[in-house]
Assembly symmetry: C2
Homo-oligomer: 150 residues x 2
Amino acid sequence: MLYTVGEIAKKLHVAPSTLRYYDKEGLLPFVERSDSGIRLFKDSDMEGLRVIECLKKTGMPIKDIKVFMELCQLGDSTIDERLALIDKQRKTVLEQQKQLQETLDTLNYKHWYYETAAQAGTCAVHDLLTAEDIPEDLRPAYQKLKKTED
Amino acid sequence: MLYTVGEIAKKLHVAPSTLRYYDKEGLLPFVERSDSGIRLFKDSDMEGLRVIECLKKTGMPIKDIKVFMELCQLGDSTIDERLALIDKQRKTVLEQQKQLQETLDTLNYKHWYYETAAQAGTCAVHDLLTAEDIPEDLRPAYQKLKKTED
DNA sequence: GCTTGACTTAAAGTTGACTTTAAGTTTTAT
DNA sequence: ATAAAACTTAAAGTCAACTTTAAGTCAAGC
């Protein structure tokens, strides 16, 4: 089964122009063309597109994704290199998870801060509070916001 | 204690031009100026800057951060609104965490894929494997990559 | 007092990732 | 056979978030 760029775009919920852009940037070395020059996507191309989608979600820039997709085209001699790139990207995602958790911790503190302020009718209530009044799990985030050194 | 834009920039590990840009965009309604027009940051401004940093990490656009910082300047009458914005942003971070975990699951599958291929010396080894040969925790990611409908 | 480095602004430039436009070709449907 | 819809490319436009530049002012150390 073969698909045009518009059909694939619908499947992936992206604009056809996005796929043409990716192709122009070299992310789709696997797509073939009809005699008249129309892109023909195979069922098996979907996996490559999903890999691109995944790498994009890690924040990898287009140019780096291109390198990976090219390695895929080169066959078994590039397996080790591809494994190294996957592992590198895995590390960045783990770091992002850590970062996002810290961000959430801060927002959780702010949520408590404003809920408490809403109860009291004023943010000034927090001037009266000491560290012990802050829920234990929110204290680290509080300390980070308040710290003055660095 | 008062600080110039360059001193604060160092503390936050950002370029001075970034802070001037934020100021121009209205993110820093709290910074004061000397008689000659030089920005003077107070110790207490650090917390506002850390809140901006936090909101930026959630992916919130500059214009939306501006709204939040302006609400902070307006005092206690905006507590409820600020709480609502924090909660909204908290939701987006939870969604991002979910997304990032799915991305990591895919990378974990790919890691296994290439490690297996490296052992065998060829990616073709995966043509011989069935679903049961794939570690159980990696199967959902595998299924997602392979699925052909949608 | 004067140089040097840091500050100021406005405006232009950069980057990445697309999107839109324009002009043309191909395929599909009647 | 022809009109409409979908495809093609190259080039220009957009957007967010900065960064750089240019021209000038201010402040600190010698």
